[in-house]
């Protein structure tokens, strides 16, 4: 889409674009280029000498069982966060769309976790599940479940999944609600007159019509689980115990900042960039073709 009416000026458009382009170059392209550049280099222990090593860093990464484990953990983590977040949000949105009374109140009470920082969400849930003083821990122990996420990997994973999903539900909920409200009532009414019950109407009409929203949310939730959950992980498990919650972005941060392995961390960053670019392209190709209803 283009404007028919435009203004003419030889310098003004460049001046208007200058601030954004300058910041983009200094803080996006230059560092991203450097990340790719470092990923082909090896730095000695004191950071004095660097050597061009080609793809060695990448080879070393894919030969490292911990990196491959981190890939698996990230895949499991993002599948759980995206899956749980979407299912719960869809259930809640469908119910809010159904009820005549109190819809606005429910909506308000369900959207506020969006405003909570991931790190704070992590702290809140870590407190509830704290091994010695947590309230939920207390209830679990009463029921004979030995709960200690500081020591047990699968429990640590469960904790970060709960905290990350809790924060993301409000986002998914709002998109599903918007999607539900844009479905023409006449379609639902026609099905009801033909004798289709609520369950059947949902699966044969509502759910297929929501599929663009669901797909969009899947991509967004995977990106969220890959990157934005950094705060949740760092404030709770810090990748532990024994790497059980060491997702890719946390490993890249840890190797670069804490372990000072510049080449290895940059190679990880380069791979992460590739993943984000793929996800973004998938999303945009899809959005272009999206059916409007």
């Amino acid at each position: 889409m283009e404007k028919r009416v435009v203004f003419r000026s030889a310098w003004l458009p460049y001046a208007l674009l200058a601030p954004q382009i300058a910041i983009t170059i200094i803080f996006f392209f230059w560092p991203a280029g450097q990340a790719v550049w470092y990923s082909f280099q090896l730095q000695d222990a004191f950071g004095l000498k660097t050597q061009f090593v080609g793809l060695d860093n990448f080879r070393a990464l894919f030969a490292d069982p911990r990196y491959l484990a981190s890939f698996k953990i990230t895949a499991l983590f993002s599948a759980l966060v995206a899956g749980a977040g979407i299912v719960i949000a869809l259930l809640l949105a469908t119910m809010v769309d159904r009820v005549a009374k109190g819809a606005l109140a429910y909506k308000t009470l369900l959207i506020w976790p969006y405003a909570v920082a991931p790190a704070v969400a992590g702290v809140l849930w870590a407190f509830l599940f704290a091994p010695s003083i947590g309230l939920v821990t207390y209830v679990l122990k009463k029921n004979g479940i030995d709960w200690n996420w500081v020591l047990q990997g699968d429990q640590a994973m469960l904790l970060v999944v709960i905290a990350s999903t809790w924060k993301q539900i409000s986002y998914n909920f709002l998109f599903f609600l918007a999607g539900l409200q844009s479905i023409p009532r006449s379609l639902i009414e026609a099905a009801a007159i033909d004798g289709a019950g609520p369950g059947r109407r949902f699966w044969t009409i509502v759910f297929p019509l929501l599929s663009p929203t669901t797909f969009f949310l899947m991509v967004v939730n995977i990106v969220y689980a890959f990157f934005d959950t950094f705060g949740v992980i760092d404030a709770t498990t810090q990748g532990g115990p024994a790497g059980a919650t060491n997702i890719l972005v946390y490993k890249a941060y840890y190797d670069g900042v804490k372990a000072a392995d510049l080449g290895g961390s940059s190679a990880q960053s380069a791979i992460l960039m590739l993943i984000v670019i793929t996800l973004t392209v998938v999303q945009f190709r899809f959005v272009e073709r999206k059916v409007q209803y």
Partner: protein, 282 residues
């Protein structure tokens, strides 16, 4: 209402109430913990009703901070968070609105090139280029400054897109009329386009304020002095290893304070928030 099914309506309300309760439960426990003493919290199970130390705890974190972890007063951290959130929100809106004005209302060489340059940044979250970005900022001497905290985060493809989308829906007749009346591009921007963009700006403000307030990784790297910590970083710094050593009553009071501004913004500006969220992403 298509048909009356009382049991289904009852079921819907039951599911929703359960959902609301589960969603609110961590917040409630946090609030309760922030009104107790440390001894009350570590005596398992902790009480489920608010205690009597609310004012005391909040006054202590706001003015003095926690002794076990970061000792900076949370009042100062809240101020840092506020400056960061406002600078990011206002900065993003300002540079994006003029950039999209240039892209939509002018034809000039390299226009598409610049558009794609901005577009590509959508794909590069801070997390994937942490160390090189940190290096750039430290080379520029911006560690522990507000500029270093905010400037790298204010280039935003999403805001530019939102304004571009909006400008494309503004009728061409308005620009034509302005031109016939002899108004230049800047005059048109200031007197016509800007007033029309108010709703979009409000919507973006809510989203970007929350984004700025909740930043974690970036302030973690860029701030080394306690006086520059943001509230979210402060909470993390107060938690020491081991449940018993952490002053949980103060951590929880700080968590309440750190959640208050963004949650208030979402609830009070709900209409713009929903609009901003659903529109920026589509």
């Amino acid at each position: 209402m298509i048909e009356n099914r009382p049991w289904l309506t009852f079921f819907s309300h039951a599911v929703l109430i359960l959902g609301v309760v589960i969603v609110a439960f961590p917040l409630y426990v946090t609030f309760v913990a922030s009104t107790l003493t440390l001894d009350e919290i570590i005596s398992v199970p902790m009480p489920l009703l608010p205690g009597s130390h609310m004012l005391e705890n909040y006054a202590q974190v706001l003015t003095a901070g926690s002794e076990a972890g970061a000792a900076a007063p949370v009042g100062r951290m809240m101020l840092n968070s506020l400056i960061m959130a406002l600078a990011i929100a206002v900065g993003k809106i300002a540079i994006s609105i003029i950039a999209s004005f240039a892209i939509v209302y002018f034809r000039f060489p390299l226009r598409n090139f610049f558009f794609w340059m901005i577009f590509v940044t959508l794909m590069l979250p801070v997390e994937v280029r942490i160390i090189p970005t940190f290096k750039v900022v430290s080379d520029l001497g911006m560690i522990d400054t507000y500029v270093g905290l905010t400037l790298p985060l204010i280039a935003s493809a999403t805001a530019t897109f939102l304004f571009r989308q909006f400008f494309l829906t503004v009728p061409d007749e308005l620009a034509e009329a302005a031109r016939i009346d002899g108004a230049g591009p800047l005059r048109f921007f200031w007197d016509v386009l800007l007033p029309l963009s108010k709703t979009s700006m409000a919507a973006l403000f809510v989203i970007q304020f929350i984004y700025g307030w909740n930043q974690y990784l970036w302030p973690l790297l860029i701030t080394t002095q306690e006086s520059m910590y943001t509230a979210v970083i402060g909470i993390k710094r107060m938690i020491t290893s081991g449940d018993a050593l952490t002053e949980w009553h103060l951590v929880m009071a700080t968590a309440m304070l750190a959640m208050l501004p963004p949650v208030a913004v979402v609830i009070l500006m709900q209409r713009w928030f929903v609009r901003g969220l659903v529109e920026t992403e589509k």
